[in-house]
Amino acid sequence: MQLANQNKPSLWGSLLWKDFQQVKLAFLVLVGGALCLQLLFLTIALLTIDHKQLGPLSTSFLGIASGTPILLAVACSGMLIGHERQSGNWAWSSSLPVSWKKSLCSKLIVATLGSLCASLPLGIIPAIFATVDVLASYFSLTLLIFFQVIVLCFLATLLMRDTLVALLVAGTVLTVLHSFSLIPVLHSWPMNRFGISPDAAPRFWFSFLSTSVLTVGLGLLVSAFRWRWTYGQMTKIAFWKERASTVVTGHFRYRESASARPSEWWMMIVHSLRNNFVMGLLVLANMAICTILFLRMDDELHLFFVLLALLALGVTTFQSDQMLGRFRFLADRGIAPWKLVLSRLVVSLGMAFPAYLVFLIALAFSQGQFDRLMLGLFAGAIAFSLGALASMCFRSQVMAIGAAILVGVFSFIINGILYSWVLHDQQMLTQVNGGAFENILLLFLPIGAFILLVSIFWMARRWLVLDKPNLEVHFLWVSVLASLSPFCFACTFGFLSIPYAPEISKPVESSQAIEHIAPEYLSITDPLLAGDMPGIAILSRYQSETMHMIAGSANGSISTIRNELKEKGDQPIRELLEPILGELDRLQNEAKVPMSYGLKNKLNLLIVRTAALATIALEEKEAELGLRLWKLNRELQDFASKVNALDSQGARKTAMFLLLDLKSEGVQLIGGAEIYRSLVPSVSDERAESIQYSLAREQNTLQHLRLTSSSAITPMHWLAVTRFFPPLLWLYEREMVIDHRNQRAYFALLPKNYLTGEVRRQLELRFPQ
């Protein structure tokens, strides 16, 4: 027989092989997923921006590379200790002649070396763009947190029977322990390179706590492992005296005397409460602690943690039924699948959503962002449903939570990329035109949660009845469908929200639809920048309206501003300027921390808004105010190019276009060509591009094609939905430009946004000569 001829492995070989096989899948999925994310980011970055500007992106790549080993540490703890204990493998392993020391060492080696080695490929992309000291800083911090996670998660899973509860408790303990030391260090870390920080106090507490946690945790881990491996296998640690069964029995007895027997629904709800209550409370406590801790940071981290907690709460929905196949007890007694599912969901949702609602309302009040309430609510519903579906489809808790997190993060990122992609071709700022699409997306967001919930009921019968239901595959395609459907629906049926599109069904010859913008929108002014930069003013009505929309987007409508300007002079603009200056001070003060998305958006908005306000001020002959605003804009641009060059690229380009489009009267108003030149930011890719664009227009190599709504009708015009399905529409627009290039070198297309009626971002194509 072949087996008899095989070579016998060594003791270490056996142990390491077994432990590695246990976590192999988690390694593959997590590292593969993280690598895909990095490559996705890199591809998008390379396609959309200059490769020289990839440096600032290194923090995103480093974030993924640092987070993956920590996730792997959690997964290893779950699989090597928690899953082994729950499935009974632990008992068999400990009956073999292998000492607890070797077993512990093997698990630690696989978890530590495996995680770190598996994460090495993730360091390749950051290593290309980040500097050595930044890499060293990230590596040291990652290593420290990684070891702490390993020790605490191993310990918790050894002490507690339920893996998910154990991991949650470990996470909470770690977060609380670090709350007073790690966050101040993180604040000062990027600027001070973690180690040469002048802020000695947080560094001391961080080092002290880290060392203490590792030392104490390691000692406890060794003792706990030995105890569990030998005579502590059957011991159950209870944090409270288990009297619930007697209470329930007593209650049933009472009901028995009152009526014949408790109702089926009552039994199911009580059963569900006993299954999920403690775990749910732990998750909610974790959610509360993380929220309180991370609210200190001006970022969306707290929302991320809360969504993660909701996902975890969703995972608890069916996990108690899954453990040791307990659901079979109910299935064998003929309980209807939908009743079982509903009773579990009612309890889980009953715990999750009141808490989440309170959190959202508190957040809305504290930040004054009520518009995000519904978005948060729907996102929460999707996160919870995704967790619940995972808990039904995966028998192992660790696999369930891992799959749910992975799919959730991927969906979030892919939706974010798609969303940005759509808005990228909208007018300059998402705040102006993005709102319309955001509203449509919001409208379709509940579809994601609906699909997930319906799938849970749909799969319930298969889950209960079949021995090998193979629900993992169903989970994959349902979660992908649920994640992408809101976006696809929003794109596909977005046209329904177009209030007025009279020419939507009128096919017109494409040649008739092409309108040359020149000469009515073109007026060539005197050269203002000696030598390299002639000044050309093209002030189309579109741009003018857009500027007013930008200026008024946060503080009232354009008509209000215009009326106020007429009545009160420059007072309203001055009132607008004061908060901007205040914001700038705050941004400068907070610039030492890594910029959050919120801060980046604010900075970009400030850059464009000051440029637009400056243009309006000059239109209204407010010379001093206009100059002040342009100077402020220059400062903002310089500031942004230093701290956030990549993400502020679009906003800076927009501001430069507005400055280049200034008419000669405007230039004279601010004090002439010399001052005008001083307002143009120093050498940058954006500046060069703006100048090149202006030059191209002056040399008349640029042909503007303004597509009216009728001209945008695709060859498939009979299918109206394709008119707003961005991929098809954009494909058509590009094809049209290629058809009409007429040996020209440079084209710009001004396609219309059907939601707002405004011109979207110009589509520019350069053709090789």
Binding site: K8, G88, S95, L96, Y231, M234
Partner: protein, 316 residues
């Protein structure tokens, strides 16, 4: 005959519940030793104590001359153990499980294991998760026996096995004992155990009722069926000399299991006017088991407390 297992005054409590109550027994080498008892009698706890998985409240255990709590590793090298629910890794194939376990044992493990799985007709390339309960039990047995241990401790080893394999397996236990190795097993399959067991111990509610070589036990106990002329009359005085282990009375018939029944007592009983028929026979293991787990003392105690049935005396 040296002792492989020695259990001395062992007590174990879980909370307020006493699971093992002052147990003492000795298992000689080269025998098949069967531990019998009802569910929850403490069989698994006693077995786990022998392997060092449970700390005792009092008493001591020695297995192969070693203290299980102090030398658990040495014990695992000498003892093959099959638990009632062997937690094999479900993602492993049958072959991989053997290959993995072979790393912890001396050379020859893989060859023996291959022979075992061949004997049990197990598919080497099938994953454990795809096997039936009985096939998993066969894998666990193959793993426990593959290193040819001096002592084999098995907790319900035949649970899930089909009758043919069960019979073959139990017979192989006799061969092991004949070869000088010791087999300690707990089982509910009393009839099958009877065929192979040399020694038997009966555990009831944490207390050891009897430890004895099976044949000796059988010969010391007699089943008596007495037919009475008048059930209201007292039984003969000779009955006082007997140790009644178990008694059921139905009408004019008394079914008893007694110890100390001799030919002299039989002669005395046969002369008694109230007894018109006496049948004496040797009990089988099942009857012995029932006798020791439903002792006569408890019946008497019940009757004294007024809980006994008047006409038909039900056992306690």
């Amino acid at each position: 005959m040296s002792e492989v297992i020695s259990v001395n005054n062992v007590s174990k409590r879980f909370g307020k519940k006493t699971v093992l109550d002052n147990i003492s027994l000795k298992v000689p080498s080269g025998v098949v030793f069967a531990l019998l008892g009802e569910n929850g009698a403490g069989k698994s706890t006693l077995i786990r104590s022998m392997l060092g998985y449970t700390k005792l409240n009092s008493g001591s255990i020695s297995v192969c001359g070693l203290d299980p709590l102090k030398k658990p590793l040495e014990i695992r090298r000498q003892v093959g153990y099959v638990s009632d629910a062997p937690g094999l890794y479900e993602w492993m194939t049958v072959a991989q499980a053997g290959w993995y376990a072979s790393g912890f044992y001396p050379d020859g493990f893989l060859r023996n294991y291959a022979a075992r799985i061949n004997e049990f007709q197990l598919p080497a390339d099938s994953k454990i998760r795809d096997l039936s309960k009985g096939m998993r039990a066969k894998v666990a047995l193959s793993l426990a026996m593959a290193f040819d241990p001096e002592l084999l401790i098995m907790d319900e080893p035949t649970s899930g096995l089909d009758p043919l394999v069960r019979r073959s397996f139990l017979e192989s236990m006799i061969d092991r004992a004949a070869a000088g190795q010791t087999v300690f097993l707990s089982s509910h399959q009393i009839q099958e155990v009877e065929r192979v067991a040399d020694w038997v111990a009966i555990l009831h509610q944490g207390k050891l009722q009897i430890v004895s070589p099976l044949e000796e036990l059988k010969s010391s106990v007699t089943i008596l069926d007495l037919s009475l002329r008048d059930p209201l009359l007292a039984l003969p005085d000779e009955m006082e000399q007997l140790e009644i282990l178990h008694r059921i009375q139905k009408g004019r018939t008394i079914h008893m299991m007694v110890r100390g029944f001799t030919s002299a007592i039989e002669l005395g009983l046969s002369k008694h006017a109230n007894l018109f028929e006496i049948k004496a026979m040797r009990p089988n293991l099942e009857e012995l088991y029932l006798g020791f787990t439903q002792p006569y003392e408890s019946i008497q105690a019940r009757e004294r407390n007024g809980q006994g049935k008047s006409n038909q005396t039900e056992v306690a």
